[in-house]
Symmetry: C2
Subunit: 569 residues, 2 copies
């Protein structure tokens, strides 16, 4: 399916809205100047449009399959993966010490979005490797780093995350997989893991599993969990894959979407593993991996939204239906179709801005060491994940609708985006869990980071008043309303917060989206950015008010409705 | 998949909320008393739960297929259809003269919902037959009626609607299929039609196509279209199917959902047909068929919502995840899951009330002949269709979310509801077209019917103040806000209305939903209905305000955003 990576949109956001140039002014990211960024985005755009997108449909039609215990991937995926690896893209944000490019998470986020728009099923493979690289960089011993990182960064090997077990989904602490010390620096890992994305494949020579397991003396719950690196083929000291480890793919899942991504049930049967981090310190290491993966999944949602938008826009221009005095009319001229397309574009732009700004905060936190940047990144991460993926689902559903009856026919392709996107609000922590994270952990500072961000929104709105008075006023008022909601929230018991968490997160995303749109409009006050901002700020932003009513509705009314009540029919 | 038709919910709505007993007080529906209604709903519930629902999964897994020009339906569908036909359900609302039960559309709507919840793909077959029965009753010659109606009502034959052509979707007037007079009372119909639901199958002995086509002197557009009855097998005078007509299934579509429903590309190659209604009067006849089919499709959305809700509710009670001091917790005890389930149930209830009240208005219009009832039915029809189907999609998506990772695995079944529901906002007039119908044709009375309905909402709220003052106040205020929006709307140019039509329709549905919930609460002020109403009125109803902001945002900002702007990236 034709796809053009939104390089210009991303560059506009980086340059005109988000202040990306602050990064190149730091020592850490001195090399991420405008020229490098332009070159990187351009190169990535060509890879996405020319190599990855053309494989997207084949992945859907010919899912990965299990043959004699080995996973065979979709037609062309091996070449697609190879192109990603050869471009060095696995290591875009990895440290140069082991072969990485050392570029900012902001660019990585842009890359994740663009690749996901081109081919979500295939992009999952590098996304998982990235997470593993980061976990090893932060927590593994030097010996493990030296052995594994060059292979993962070059893409010769790939990485997976093994968290979930049948009885342990969102509640990771309930896992039962065991690890026993072999006394020689290795451990024997035994247990079954489910939903292992790219758990096996034929696109690279080795698969390295990061597996959460419990040592014999590990206490119940998350505090007794350790992390192990368990390769499919055990490498020798020189990094040559040798003996086959005692692990296998039991089966592949038959899924609603991302058919090209093999989702494995894995069985570890006394498999040899190496501990990463400290005994019983597995969750900390895993959180490193999951945290940036959350932003990566947010970017996935945005990528699919962008692709679905482009696809619908093209159809709406081609498809004739109805007449005006000027002759046959393409459906794009009908007000409701125009509305859908405008909303799709405005929503995608806003969600992208949130994700890129989150990446920027991560990078600035790293480059400056300042807690304020780190708190901002922590606050934005659940919003970027949940909102980006919700928008992925909503925009791809509108993409189906724009196509009318053709949207329901699989050949058209709109339905694939709709199916593929649906996983993103679920994995890497459901969006409900992201919302709980936002209203609980991310408000442990009494709402300080949130207030600081909202102050920034208000200040920017003040600055826009001279040029765009009506839009600026709406954004300023929304930020003020949101600030009051934050103040209310931090005074509530935890379950009161949880009962409104999803609506609170979405309201926050509405205000942020309006903020970025306003800044975009200010950079282009007579141009398309301002016209798009007007659609967002006048049509979409007002939703924050009813969302905040929901956010404050409280837990009592939900629990008053008993299970018996819910069963009443 | 286990399913229990919501007989008790429907009876509660009929008896305590909607004033269904007014029907039995009319001459036309004197037989639709409480006992008959109870018996009918009970019988239907058993059919849906025991026969149709158990076939739902097989329909998804083993789609209908085309073999040597003949469609073979999914396993068990023939038996399922036979059970529907033998129950006499095809003729539930057909006139007794040709074997129908003559029961109200209200009950028919309840039946359509229940069957759709059990098995949407299979239910489409009787739904189409019902539409054809109605079109023939109103427009066909006595000879055609006598020949076809008994067969359609008994279910020996089935009916289809042939409107769409590749270049003529929402714009039916662009069709090119031709009909030539054979001079013997028959016509030769030639052309290709697409998206023909149940266009061929093996569940009954004949398939009767109602085909829109243009006579040689038919003008361009909808005014030159006539309607023809074109049977697959041409019956003799005694109604015995004989010679095969010159029509064939070219191919079946590969669809996102409703796999058990064969969607055919049909080719009519000089096929013999009989005119229904007058020359060039095809659209009028077709509208008869489509109008009630729109309510039927709204009921489909609600049925899928109910099924998805039940499925998610069961999982949420079984699935343990996390702990409280009392021990392992089922996910239903987590606030955000409880919220999703409460919203799913409250939304389904509200959409069902709108659809049943629409059915009631159709029946009262027929029984009393009063224009006020007819106008109410006309007003409610697009709302029932668009909102019922939107809720079908939203609730089935929440059903996936409640299941977490398991929701994305096809075996779980949640994904099937999500896929199946997605067609309902598209067919029988896209929801965008429903919204345009609401703000244009249905407001040609200057908003009189809408105002009358909103007055009823306000009066009911006044009556509820003594018992439920806070809820009553919210509903009263919302109705007043909606009334102002209607007054604003009727003063606008048409494209201004269209630009906000979708939001306007949804806002109206929010107010109506709150109205029915309030009435339900009043009938059960200390019970589950009141607790559910509180969730709807305090959490969901407030959305009407931001929707009305969208409704009033106007067309200019959408068209200011040029096609070039939409392409900017």
């Amino acid at each position: 399916m034709p796809y053009a990576a939104p390089v210009a949109d991303i560059r506009f956001l980086l340059d005109k809205v988000l202040g990306y140039d602050r990064l190149a002014a730091t020592e850490t990211f001195a090399e991420a100047g405008a020229d490098v960024t332009e070159a990187i985005l351009g190169e990535l755009g060509r890879l996405c449009d020319g190599v990855l997108a053309p494989l997207n449909r084949a992945g859907d039609l010919t899912p990965a399959r299990l043959e004699n215990g080995v996973v065979r991937t979709s037609p062309g995926f091996k070449d697609g993966y190879k192109a990603i690896a050869e471009g060095g893209w696995l290591g875009i944000s990895a440290t140069p010490e082991h072969g990485g490019m050392g570029l900012p998470q902001t660019l990585n986020t842009a890359m994740n979005e663009m690749m996901s728009g081109a081919n979500l099923a295939l992009q999952l493979c590098p996304l998982l490797s990235q997470g593993q690289i980061e976990a090893l960089e932060h927590h593994a011993s030097d010996a493990l780093k030296d052995l594994y990182l060059p292979k993962l960064i070059s893409g010769e090997w790939t990485g997976t995350m093994n968290l979930t077990e049948p009885q342990a989904g969102s509640d990771v602490g309930a896992l039962r997989t065991k690890a026993e010390d072999n006394g020689d620096g290795t451990f024997s890992v035994t247990g079954q893991k489910i939903f292992i994305t790219w758990g096996d494949h034929d696109v690279a020579e080795n698969v390295c599993h990061l597996v959460l397991a419990r040592l014999p003396d590990g206490v119940a719950g998350t505090k007794g969990i350790s992390l192990f690196l368990v390769p499919k083929l055990i490498p020798d000291a020189a990094g040559k894959p040798g003996e086959r480890n005692s692990l296998r793919v039991v089966s592949l899942e038959h899924k609603l979407g991302i058919h090209g991504s093999p989702t494995c049930v894995m069985s570890f049967e006394g498999a040899k593993g190496w501990m990463v981090g400290k005994p019983n310190g597995g969750m900390a290491a895993m959180f490193t991996m999951m945290n940036n993966a959350r932003l990566g999944v947010g970017a996935q949602g945005i990528g699919v939204a962008e692709a679905a938008y482009q696809h619908a826009l093209a159809y709406a221009q081609e498809r004739k239906q109805g007449r005006t005095p000027q002759g046959d009319t393409a459906i794009i001229d009908h007000a409701d179709v125009r509305r859908m397309l405008a909303v799709m574009k405005a929503e995608t732009f806003a969600a992208r801005a949130i994700a890129l700004d989150c990446g920027l905060a991560i990078d600035m936190g790293r480059a400056t060491g300042k807690d304020s940047w780190k708190a901002r990144a922590a606050l934005l991460t659940p919003i970027a994940k949940a909102h980006g993926t919700d928008i992925g689902c909503e925009v791809s559903s509108m993409g189906v609708q724009v196509h009318g009856g053709m949207g329901f026919i699989e050949e058209t392709g709109a339905a694939q985006y709709f199916r593929d996107a649906r996983i993103t609000p679920i994995y890497e922590g459901t969006n409900g869990i992201q919302a709980m994270d936002l209203v609980a952990r991310k408000m442990m500072d009494g709402g300080e980071a949130a207030s600081r961000l909202l102050q920034e929104v208000e200040d920017a709105a003040e600055g826009a008043r001279a040029t765009l008075p009506d839009l600026a006023e709406k954004v300023w008022e929304a930020a003020e309303t949101m600030r009051e909601a934050v103040e209310w929230l931090v005074g509530q018991e935890m379950n009161e917060r949880f009962a409104g968490a999803t609506a609170f997160l979405r309201a926050f995303a509405r205000v942020l989206g309006a903020h970025y749109h306003l800044k975009a409009a200010l950079a282009d006050p007579e141009g398309p950015r301002a016209r798009l901002a007007r659609v967002f700020i006048t049509r979409i932003l007002p939703e924050h008010e009813s969302l905040l009513v929901q956010a404050r509705a409280g837990a009592a009314q939900l629990y008053d409705l008993s299970i018996e009540d819910l069963q009443t029919a």
